[in-house]
């Protein structure tokens, strides 16, 4: 049994957060605020429209409206509202995706395959070794096909759980061996498809130590529903100890 350190209220359905899971990333709270703003606005608009519909149906018959204002004024207001939401969302998207990761970010590779996630750390040389699909052999302990002839690969660490330090940016390079998968960490408000033949970078900073779910969110085969892993966020010193132990095990 894997020990869990679930945050209080993580999975509880609470009205104030509309059931959103716990938010453990640095960029997440701003995204949540924007999402909740959106949800309250559309709830208000839906209620307003239904109210107008109902009142219009109940009220006594009157001559039909002919003024263009009843169409264009609300339309202009809605256009402004949608423009405001677009711009607000665009700023968050630009901050998250327009620029690459900090050069000092922790480098981790994420690889999807039917039906597992693998995570690779570059080791003491800070360089990922070359991989070849011909060498992939999970049974022999080389699920990613790291080429032993490449010196950079010998110290690479491959794990089946993603372990990260809190409060340090991480630069994920995501790809897939076989079909398209969806790398999703709801509690980090992070999602990016893993596409074979492409390496896609996303970066984020985990904030709160704990164990979180990593899911596959792109249908990839009969094991899609169980293609998941844990993300374990550790305090920096514990992470350093974990990494050192892993490195020692690889070098042995």
């Amino acid at each position: 049994m894997i020990p869990f350190s679930i945050q209080p209220g993580t999975f509880a359905l609470s009205l104030a957060t509309w059931g959103l899971p716990f938010d453990a990333s640095v960029h997440g709270p701003a995204v949540d605020r924007h999402l909740l703003l959106n949800l309250w606005i559309i709830l208000g608009l839906a209620a307003l429209a239904h109210l107008i519909l109902l009142v219009g149906l109940i009220a006594r018959r009157r001559a039909e409206a002919t003024s263009w204002r009843v169409e264009y004024l609300p339309l202009a207001a809605l256009a402004l509202l949608f423009a405001f939401l677009t711009v607000r969302a665009e700023r968050l998207w630009a901050a998250a995706r327009y620029t690459g990761a900090d050069p000092a970010a922790l480098q981790v590779q994420v690889v999807g395959e039917q039906f597992a996630w693998y995570f690779r750390y570059p080791g003491a040389d800070y360089t990922f070794g070359i991989t070849r699909p011909q060498l992939v052999d999970a049974g022999a302990g080389n699920p990613l096909g790291i080429d032993p002839a490449d010196g950079h690969g010998t110290d690479d660490i491959v794990t089946s759980e993603l372990v990260l330090p809190a409060d340090r940016q991480v630069d994920l390079r995501i790809n897939s061996l076989d079909v398209i998968h969806g790398f999703s960490v709801p509690e980090m408000r992070l999602k990016q498809n893993a596409v074979p033949g492409m390496t896609i970078h996303v970066h984020f900073t985990p904030k709160v130590p704990g164990t979180y779910a990593i899911l596959c969110t792109q249908v990839c085969g009969l094991g899609h529903y169980r293609m998941n892993a844990n993300l374990r966020v550790l305090p920096p010193n514990e992470f350093a100890a974990w990494l050192a132990a892993k490195q020692k095990a690889v070098q042995r």
Binding site: H50, L57, A83, R97, Q114, R132, M198, L222
Partner: protein, 584 residues
């Protein structure tokens, strides 16, 4: 004397073909609904055994998802509004006695029927039906060893959709030519009913979208059987086999996503555009009002169609699209909210203080408005890439498109059925029948309650993080298991609601069968409609010689005038001048 086979089976009569399409859609929607119930039941009671089948395995669940989506989108929501009611009503609404190409019309129907048979029979081939969803992303869909159903089942899926695309293109050409060439005298572009504008725009989109889809299907077929690599990258390793030897090229899975969604997004507008037009017309009909801002409604219909082909990238925000491209697609997607809002405003103004007649058709049109608002408002939320990053492929999306496309689309179809039933049951020299209003009202209230109870809570399970296409929520390992288990109480409620919603449709079937044989005889123009399908010479019960009658149109549809105590209805063919009375 025409043989019954020619008359009912291989008929080139547009009304018979329209009914054939509707029967095909009714069979399809019944199958599609039963498949969805199996999914809902499996999600919350995974150990249930299905009679004559055994337990639902993960690959069975994905086959259910795939066939449910494919059948509902293609064979129900595209077929029934566009081809079914399109054939049945469209020619008469523009004052024509027939469609432009009757033989092509019959060919189109029989190709559609063949496509359905191919799709359904895929369940009997080794491995069963395809499991990669209706969007069939490669390499999952390109490599037979990627899963059960991805061999022969996937080939049959490709064949079925290719045949459907050809049928859809033929039908769309027929629709366009009919509208452009066969309009009667006086039927100017601004006098064409909004339903016809919906069919027109959907047909334009069909030609653009289906041709691209057909090309994409062909490329995917070549990747599977001809050793090409349009969608498979070098060194792709599926089930331990590297596809380098048989597929020497370096393709891109993203290319499929572009091609598929270039088709896929217009496709959802094809499904809803006829419903948008019908709603405008029925609300006006039963409110005894003109459609508010009629010309603007024509423009917004065309604008929704035009913008509909520019926003496919919003399905790809997290698919590996350039983040700048995501921003561009976000703007084009947000832009479509404006013509869509204009439609809602027109509906609200049209019924505002009108004291409408609450016929069943009117109730379903009002239900359409409600669902279009509720389901539509989540569209702008999903159009924002940073929010879609969290919501993409969760049940929030499932809730969105089921409300706006599936439920609103079906409500449009119900409204159309209750409204046009007298025309569907009439034949030469014999007047048609009305559907039971009492059963109809009961059907409406049960359906709208069931629709909201089923699809509103899905927004919440989606916000909680429940992904689509998960064969199981119970017994999933790791922290994910806890996340999914948290959605179970709501999911049980959703399943019960779905069972209720499906059961409520028995009322519709009962009404259909009862009214077909025992329904009240319909008067010539039971709803006091103004559009030409109720014109005595265009009515299906008109004698054969009526086909020579010259049809002339003098005005826009829905010219209702209210004077103190008296209502004046001026059909499009009425020669009376509008009396110069002061409105009340």
């Amino acid at each position: 004397m025409i043989s019954p086979l020619r008359r009912y089976l291989f008929s080139t009569d547009h009304r018979v073909i329209g009914i054939q399409y509707l029967v095909l859609a009714l069979v399809s929607v019944t199958i599609g609904t039963l498949l969805s119930l199996l999914m809902r039941i499996h999600l919350v009671w995974p150990d249930r055994i299905v009679p004559f089948h055994g337990p639902i395995l993960p690959e069975d669940y994905l086959a259910l998802v795939t066939i449910h989506g494919t059948i509902m989108l293609f064979f129900v929501l595209t077929t029934a509004p566009q081809s079914g009611f399109g054939n049945l009503i469209l020619p008469a609404q523009i004052g024509a006695h027939r469609m432009a190409f009757p033989v092509a019309n019959a060919v189109s129907f029989w190709l559609t029927a063949a496509a359905l048979v191919i799709l359904l029979s895929s369940t009997f081939v080794p491995g069963g039906s395809a499991i990669s969803g209706w969007m069939a992303y490669p390499p999952f869909s390109a490599v037979a060893s990627a899963g059960p159903g991805q061999g022969a089942g996937m080939d049959m899926w490709l064949g079925s959709i290719a045949v459907f695309a050809i049928a859809g293109t033929i039908g769309a050409i027929n629709t366009l030519v009919t509208i452009i060439k066969l309009r009667c005298e006086g039927m100017t572009w601004d006098r064409i009913p909004l339903t016809v504008w919906g069919w027109f725009t959907a047909a334009l989109l069909s030609i653009i979208a289906f041709s691209v889809l057909l090309a994409a299907l062909l490329l995917l077929f070549c990747d599977r059987h001809a050793g090409t690599s349009f969608f498979i990258p070098t060194g792709d390793l599926v089930s331990g086999v590297i596809h380098a030897a048989s597929h020497p090229g370096n393709g891109s899975p993203l290319l499929w996503l572009h091609l598929f969604w270039f088709f896929g997004h217009p496709e959802v507008y094809i499904a809803i555009l006829p419903g948008l037009g019908l709603t405008s017309m029925l609300l006006a009909n039963f409110s005894r009002r003109r459609v508010f801002a009629y010309r603007m409604m024509i423009v917004t219909t065309l604008l929704i169609g035009f913008l509909g082909i520019l926003l496919w990238g919003h399905h790809m925000f997290v698919a590996g699209l350039n983040p700048y491209a995501a921003s561009a697609f976000a703007v084009s997607t947000m832009a479509i909210a404006i013509p869509a809002s204009a439609k809602v405003l027109s509906w609200l103004v049209t019924v505002w203080r009108s004291r409408p007649r609450y016929t069943t058709a009117m109730l379903f049109s009002l239900g359409f408005v409600s669902l279009f608002i509720t389901g539509g408002l989540t569209g702008p939320v999903l159009a924002q890439p940073i929010l879609d990053e969290y919501l993409h492929n969760t049940f929030f999306v499932v809730a969105h498109f089921h409300l706006i496309m599936a439920m609103a689309g079906i409500f449009g179809l119900f409204a159309a059925t209750y409204y046009w039933f007298p025309l569907m049951t009439a034949s030469s020299g014999k007047s048609g029948r009305m559907m039971s209003e009492r059963l109809g009202r009961l059907h409406f209230w049960a359906t709208i309650a069931g629709a909201y109870a089923t699809f509103l809570p899905m927004h919440l399970t989606g916000l909680m993080g429940e992904p689509r296409h998960y064969a199981q929520l119970i017994g999933v390992p790791n922290a994910a298991g806890h996340l999914l288990a948290g959605t179970l109480p709501l999911n049980r409620f959703i399943t019960w609601s779905a069972i209720f919603l499906a059961t409520a449709q028995l009322l519709f079937f009962a009404n259909l069968i009862h009214s077909l044989f025992r329904g009240k005889p319909a008067p010539p123009n039971p709803w006091q409609a103004t559009t030409l399908e109720w014109h005595p010479a265009l009515h299906p019960n008109a004698p054969a010689k009526a086909a020579e009658e010259r049809i002339v149109v003098y005005r826009q549809p829905c010219e209702y005038q209210s004077t103190a105590g008296e209502e004046l209805i001026l059909p499009q063919w009425s020669t009376d001048a509008i009396p110069n009375i002061k409105p009340e």
